[in-house]
């Protein structure tokens, strides 16, 4: 289990339910490493501000995290974390490696405009 205050996704079923039951979602799939932690921290910061987006994390090494690890949108990714943004269950944006709070904010504003 990742040591964050975010909702943890712990199976492929829970992932499917999360992205289909919520219109706008962001899931960060990583470990507790220096490239991933700033992304979780930014998500925790932004959670209160972006109430129309649901935020979650998933352990990169969980066997069922293949739903993110092997997603077509993550092809060519070679840096943790893999971060996916879904609208109505479909990937609208995916990033690899560390992103700043500013960069995440830009994606949220562009993809999930109110």
């Amino acid at each position: 289990m990742l040591d964050t205050n975010l909702k943890h996704i712990d199976s492929a079923d829970a992932w499917q339910q999360f992205i289909s039951e919520n219109e706008n979602t962001m899931i960060c799939c990583g470990r507790m490493g220096p490239m991933c932690i700033p992304v979780y921290a930014a998500m925790e910061d932004l959670e209160g501000e972006y109430e129309h987006v649901k935020f979650a994390d998933m352990e990169f090494d969980h066997p069922e995290a293949h739903v993110i690890r092997n997603a077509p949108e993550a092809r060519g990714f070679m840096g943790l974390p893999f971060t996916m943004y879904y609208k109505n269950g479909k990937v609208v944006k995916a990033t690899s490696s560390i992103q700043s709070e500013e960069q995440i904010r830009e994606i949220l504003d562009a993809e999930f405009a109110k």
């Binding site: 490493g33 070679m78 840096g79 690899s96």
Partner: protein
């Protein structure tokens, strides 16, 4: 324009800024900590902190959370900002404008903006970050199992990381701009003895290229000026550290490395402005040091503000 006044403003919310926030607010001084990025700074990047006295072992993330909680519980206000638009640190009343609508004033300012790993700043670097370009061997090394990679840098971290990446990669080309390494001799020896590592001194990367992921780099030989297309699956960059003081360039005294010179009590050359943490001119950069320097900076600032208020009363 909305102006709010505080006794002291701290710029930066890493361990130094948070420690200053704790000390200042416990001294009953109204304190504002302005932070861009994530509160905790570089501390949150550290998976395990095992060298912080009194705490057996913890994650940097959770230590930062506790420091933040302590600072706010004593009354410090922490505000996340995009950046500073304008400031006047030289007048007696310090002024910091963060947007067209909001500015802050204070009797004293503590500068604690920390630092960041240096990037090469060449074409394609940002585009291929996470798609071949990496700054963390422990995070991304395994994606390069049996692949050929380059490592850039000539200090201790570059050499140590090159050796650690040799557990994954099939071949490593170590590029360094100078004709000798800046690392400890034992680290240089270890690299030289590693059969997977091929050293190229006086070479720099001019650009990164590829499609979905990195395919190669253009390498320049600084001695001959020759530029070569070099096929590679990955590039790890460890070229040191840069203080976050660009916002002070031209308007505040900095040394030639962009660091803030301070005296033993963390006074800068400007009256009423103090500095602490990774942004100051010093040799070692550790959390314990940042916290210790911030303690001195906060106590100096508290004394300065106290004297200022006394003078005004008389």
């Amino acid at each position: 324009m909305y102006t709010e006044h505080f006794d002291v403003i701290v710029i930066g919310g890493g361990p130094a800024g948070l420690a200053a926030g704790i000390y200042l607010s416990r001294s009953k001084l109204s304190t504002l900590v302005l932070n861009s990025g994530t509160v905790g700074g570089q501390l949150i990047l550290t998976h395990e902190i095992a060298n912080y006295p009194g705490v057996e072992s913890t994650s940097g993330y959770s230590l930062a959370r506790t420091m933040k909680k302590q600072a706010t519980s004593f009354g410090a206000k922490i505000k996340t900002i995009k950046g500073i638009e304008e400031m006047d640190l030289k007048s007696d009343m310090k002024r910091i404008r963060i947007s067209d609508e909001q500015e802050y004033t204070a009797h004293a300012v503590i500068l604690a903006p920390g630092g960041n790993p240096r990037t090469l700043g060449v074409e394609g670097e940002t585009e291929f970050k996470g798609r071949g370009v990496s700054y963390c061997a422990t995070c991304d090394g395994e994606f390069f199992t049996d692949k050929e990679i380059v490592v850039v840098g000539g200090g201790n971290s570059a050499l140590e990381e090159a050796v650690s990446l040799s557990k994954f990669a099939s071949k490593i080309t170590l590029l360094h701009q100078f004709d000798h390494f800046q690392a400890f001799q034992h680290a240089v020896e270890e690299v030289k003895q590693n059969e997977k590592i091929n050293i190229r001194l006086e070479h720099v990367i001019e650009s990164f290229y590829g499609e979905e992921s990195l395919k190669g780099v253009k390498i320049k030989n600084l001695k001959t000026g020759e530029v070569e297309d070099f096929a590679t699956d990955g590039a790890f960059i460890f070229i040191g550290y840069v203080p976050n003081t660009e916002f002070l360039q031209g308007c505040f005294p900095l040394n030639d490395r962009g660091e803030i010179p301070v005296d033993a009590n963390m006074n800068t050359e400007v009256k009423g402005v103090f500095a602490a943490g990774d942004c100051i001119a010093k040799k070692y950069r550790q959390v314990t040091m940042a916290v210790g320097e911030a303690t001195a900076a906060a106590l100096s600032a508290a004394e300065y503000v106290h004297n200022l208020k006394q003078d005004k009363k008389q």
